[in-house]
Symmetry: C2
Subunit: 760 residues, 2 copies
């Protein structure tokens, strides 16, 4: 299919969900009213580590409107633990609390206010225990153990790769060796060693976690803001000993996620509440509670790189420590990705990469846009500029010398590089006028990163129904969380079936009704679900052309589907006519199915990468020497999207990622003291606003139609986040000659660095 | 598949919906609460025929909680007419009302009570017009015309067969001729001519019509108690000019239907209300309003039959007039069926059959269990006994002599008889001990009838999903309205897939989510939808065995699916293992599809009958000479089900039909005077209770596995209703020697007949 013949793909039609969203008609999970619904509120531990001595519920039970109080004792025959990697997280704390904010009990009442009021009447006796309140503390000898034992969850096929270190708080230790790193350092002309740090941050989705559960004789239905309806279904089925077919997870449009709604979160607790009272129960978290549910991993990255005088990278050793909090969530997988991809998009023959997800008595950390890459690219891309500076090389030249080329292996068993990285680097540099010098107090910086895109070992399935009037419904489990997947997938259907986009409807994900999908994460939807949707559409097209060929007395190959009409030479039938004639009735429909399933190859990520998600960024900053304030005057992000299915949304996704990256580069961090979050609210937690955006802010889309998705598409969405912090850090270094190694780049930190105070 | 190898089919497992229903957890349409929902109440015409002069809404609009008043003026660009045969029925009366009870305006308010209160504030000025208040009046010269013009609806393929008589109130005149009826009468030894009457009756579903509509930027969603989600979708799409994919009709479990919820009823009005206020609107009818919505056709049947001295039937002429009320609904199709099947299951060479659906200014009449057959069998089976009496023959002997035999044509172009009718007659007679004489004041009677089963020209589609744990979801649009279809269809899946019934879930019909189905009527679900479900299950089985063969290194034919496990010789894989290994991930699923589509052959019913639904009944009654009260002491119904998928439910369906038939035979009628219903409520409308049941009451199931449905099944459900009235009437005649020709057989009517007052 050539560019010229594409009708819908590559355009920027209005989003299918736009009208409902801008007119306030979209019903998010928290807007839903389910017949007979009551409300739950959660009593959370004030201590980071404690033994639960006693929970007295009488006073709360006597409060107005209260139906029940749920504690771990009420979980009955449930298997009360869940988690995508280890089943280490209880529905409610059992005997022990492991972080401040952990759910200990839930009050269920007729109204939300009554449930909240009764929380204060619960009498919970906790006996404080020593806590591991930093990665260093958790790794120290004789540190209090967060977990004594771990049970694999069975969710990921590469489970056997999970390597906890027994008797320690290391929940997973990823390690990778290539060549001989010591020999590499010996061969190098210079070896550089640096330590970089990032704090935990909050996802800041506009919609905090919300779930409504209805547990009754028909089974369990959960309406939830989640990115993973099917994995959540699986965990609910396991917890409550139900067949998959008796568990239904419905996902209304989600108000932002960024990884915070990956896998199971509050769904089991909400379901357990409903099971207790046999009524539908709604649990809607506040922002503070959302901050107490999941964060992005704070990290410490030690990086040592050996380089030849001409800039050729020879060897790298990394030691990455991620604070994964009290429960593993996907921490082990984030550590794996951070470790394995600490090389960046470069050719480095000798490697020794270690990354550890470390349990602490903090809020659990999990998936976050970029999934480990922002952490390691902050370290490795910052260090590259330091190396360029020491070698007296242009940072662009240093990168260009080491970038992998198309077709070159990233690692044995992994997909070869499927992108023109040189083109990306060149266009990024051009976009920020790299070759022109900056004004005083200004500087430019850039960075490059890649990530294995699309989740290597995951399945997507789609069903397409062509109705009797030629309108079409797409069934797929992809979650619309604001990224525009609904419109993009509808475009793929419309393009493939030769119908107008307006005639395509997309169902809401519902595990009882939409076919299996692994989840909406890892920039996978356009590419992997897109492949399933494309296949289902082709299946319908083939059925329709076969049907028309039979009716028109010709061969299927002679029939073309264009604009809702089946053409064979001069003869034609509308889809409606073909269906009516085929079925002998003005009803009936055509149903097509499509599947994406992974090819299991082993590999360090559990299978060959489906595509490489490429993100580059170039920044120009101005630093105020008096206040330390950094103004980003220009930021250009480069995204290799293979082919933009929806051009405007590709740009919006990438710009959104870059803006979120700006926040974590300049402002964002969750402060903790003694295991307590200090700023878990929208006032004290600072994110960028539109006034923080650079005057020049944009995205360069690279489209070589070389992706594995439909029409050559690749995923986008995370890559905008990869490079913001190092590009800005590098620009700051070039503006004022000072290298800051810890995020965020707050005015105070810059100002102190200026004054020569201990650099971070 | 032999009897011995069937595991699930033929058993009587607990219904899948039993627990939820008996514990009150089932949510019917009227139980639903949709977010933001408000309520509508309908202002109905007090006059049967009038011109609408003016509707003043100000006072109602000012009432507390009132959001809007909807009149025909608010329908905007809608196409405001609907109807399955003719689009003759307006969403709200336009200029003219055509029956007392017709919706004229709707008040929409925050609460149901507020809407009801505001109804009294509407000021509607009507100018009464002369009305046609009986079939005779409607057929009289210069009768007021109910409709001046008619527009075909395009729903049925055999539209061209609709024959209104222009300039009259005849909405459809069915006529059929075979042989030469006058020659037949001339050849006969005797000719008998009788007139039989039946009043209109009420369906008496426990749940009156309810709908909730949400019309917003995403399109239109309607939750409705309907038997025809897809045809309702089609009409809504046409009324509101929406693509099918933008209209969603969801059908929660329905609390009984019996035909009253066939095709479009209150859905367009509810949707128009929602469109007006842009909020979800609920419209729940009272019983009185349900009586004002649809009834069963009152009828007059003139029947003339010529017979040889030996009992051989030679010729029959019928003239059937059905009061179809103010709007056609499916009246033309009921008339067609009543006319064409007035022959009964007998060999009669010379025929002249006429049936007219006649418009009157009464409540519309439509589908009702049996669809015309109870009306004509009351006439023809009563007359047969009269003939036997005159000829001095045993009524069983007379019937046996004329019954069609297996393989014999009913009519050219129609399916040949696919049942052993003689066996049915013999077993019915045996079951009521026909050969033993009755006590004084007692008598026995029986009757036979057939009906084309399953809707000849209709489509059903099913999707089956096998989940990763081997549990299964069936997607189909069949409506569970109490008849047990959910369980029967799940049994077909379980049997075909070799899994346990408990692992099969069945989705609620939802046009956005379940694939196309023509509707749940005409005893079609087990047979036609059953075929689609069977095909979809076979599709899954084939995919699973192919998958397992690949994994086990053998041929698909060598793999057997038994009890959730795929066996190849000694090797085996559970379904869960096969899916996990095939997809390389503990997710993924298998999706199978199946379609039933009709073969279009022409024929008088629009296509060859799919199967013949056979119903016979035998009654023994005792008549109290002092009061005229009839006590049915024994009633046995015979149903030829081909194969009982769920034995207990087959019996329950048939007994339910017989009990409903008992009501219409003995008690039920909607009284009207001056076009007003006199008893439209549950107090004054008398239906049978358990105390009315005969001491001996049961069903004989005939199972020759000769049906076209899965495992040899045929439909059942209507047939129990066919024969009750004539069997009881015949028994009464044999008990007291008096033939009553009008239903119901009330004590007063019997008592008056005893006293020699003008027999009906």
């Amino acid at each position: 299919m050539t560019e010229a013949t594409l009708r819908v793909v590559g355009a920027s039609p209005p989003r299918l969900d736009a009208l409902a969203k801008v007119t306030g008609q979209t019903r998010y999970a928290s807007d839903l009213v389910i017949t007979g619904m009551v409300h739950a509120k959660v009593w959370r531990s004030p201590l980071p580590h404690a033994h639960i001595e006693r929970i007295a519920t009488q006073a709360a039970l006597a409060a107005p409107g209260v139906l029940a109080v749920l504690t771990a004792n009420d979980l009955g025959d449930c298997d009360p633990f869940y988690g995508p990697a280890y089943k280490d997280q209880p529905v409610l704390a059992i005997d022990r609390v492991r972080y401040a904010g952990e759910p200990v009990a839930a009050v269920i009442a007729e109204t939300e206010r009554q449930a909240a009021a009764a929380l204060a009447l619960l009498e919970v006796t906790l006996i404080e225990l020593p806590a591991a309140l930093s990665v260093d503390a958790a790794l120290a000898p004789k540190a209090p153990l967060v977990h004594e034992t771990l049970r694999w969850a069975g969710h990921f096929r590469d489970l056997a790769r999970l390597r906890p270190v027994p008797g320690t708080n290391v929940c997973h230790h990823f390690t990778y060796t290539r060549g001989d790193v010591e020999q590499g350092f010996a061969e190098a002309d210079a070896v550089y060693e640096d330590t970089f740090r990032l704090p935990p941050i909050y996802h800041y989705a506009m919609e905090p976690h919300t779930a409504i559960a209805r547990y009754d004789a028909n089974g369990l239905t959960v309406w939830a803001a989640t990115q993973h309806p099917f994995p959540v279904r699986k965990e609910l089925a396991e917890i409550f000993h139900l067949p998959l077919a008796a568990v239904q997870v419905v996902v209304p449009p989600v108000g932002g996620a960024y990884g915070s709604k990956c896998y199971t979160k509050i769904e089991p607790l909400t379901a357990a509440c409903s099971r207790k009272v046999q009524r539908p129960v709604r649990l809607a978290l506040s922002v503070t509670e959302a901050c107490q549910t999941i964060t992005r991993h704070g990290a410490l990255c030690q990086i040592k790189t050996g380089v030849r005088r001409d800039g050729t990278l020879v060897a790298r050793q990394c030691d990455i420590r991620l604070d994964t909090g009290a429960y593993a969530d996907v921490g082990p997988l984030v550590a794996t990705k951070a470790g394995f991809l600490a090389v960046g998009p470069y050719r480095i023959p000798h490697l020794q990469l270690d990354a550890r997800a470390v349990y602490t008595h903090h809020v659990p950390a999990g998936a976050f846009r970029g999934y480990g890459i922002p952490q390691v690219s902050w370290a490795s891309e910052s260090q590259l500029d330091r190396i360029a500076d020491r070698l007296g090389m242009d940072p662009v030249e240093l990168r260009a010398r080491n970038l992998l080329v198309r077709g070159e292996a990233y690692a044995p068993g992994e997909l070869s590089i499927d992108a023109d990285l040189q083109e990306g680097l060149r266009r990024t540099a051009t976009a920020i006028a790299w070759s022109q010098p900056s004004a005083p107090h200004r500087g430019k910086g850039l960075a490059c990163a890649i990530k294995d895109g699309g989740m290597t070992h995951s399945v997507s399935t789609a069903v397409v129904r062509v109705h009797a009037d030629g309108s079409v419904t797409l069934f797929c489990g992809a979650v619309e969380h604001g990224q525009g997947s609904e419109t993009v997938l509808a475009q793929i259907v419309a393009e493939t079936l030769g119908v107008r986009l307006e005639t395509v409807s997309v169902t809401t994900p519902d595990t009882a009704l939409t076919p299996y999908d692994q989840g909406t994460s890892a920039s996978r939807t356009t590419t992997l679900m897109g492949r399933a949707v494309h296949a289902a559409s082709l299946d319908c097209r083939q059925q329709l052309t076969t049907m028309a060929a039979g009716l028109l007395g010709t061969e299927p190959a002679a029939v073309q589907l264009r604009d809702g009409t089946l053409w064979a030479g001069e003869q034609c039938l509308t889809v409606a006519e073909a269906i009516a004639q085929h079925f002998g009735y003005p009803g009936g429909e055509v149903i097509g199915t499509g599947v994406w399933r992974p090819v299991w190859t082993g590999g360090h990520l559990g299978g060959a990468t489906v595509f490489w998600e490429v993100g580059m960024g170039g920044a120009e900053v101005e630093v105020d020497a008096d206040t330390g304030e950094i103004t980003v005057v220009r930021y250009i992000s480069t995204a290799d999207v293979g082919r933009a299915i929806h051009r405007q949304q590709c740009v919006a996704q990438d710009e959104g990622g870059a803006m979120q990256g700006l926040g974590s580069a300049l402002f964002e961090q969750l402060f903790t003291a003694d295991g307590q979050l200090l700023n878990p609210n929208l006032i004290d937690y600072r994110v960028p606003t539109f006034t923080d955006l650079p005057d020049t802010f944009g995205t360069v889309l690279i489209e070589n139609a070389d992706g594995p998705g439909p029409y050559g598409a690749k995923g986008v969405g995370e890559s905008g986040m990869f490079c913001v912090a190092p590009a800005i850090g590098n620009a700051v270094a070039r503006a004022i000659g000072i290298r800051i190694r810890e995020l965020p780049l707050t005015p105070e930190r810059v100002w102190r660095a200026f004054r020569g105070e201990k650099p971070s």
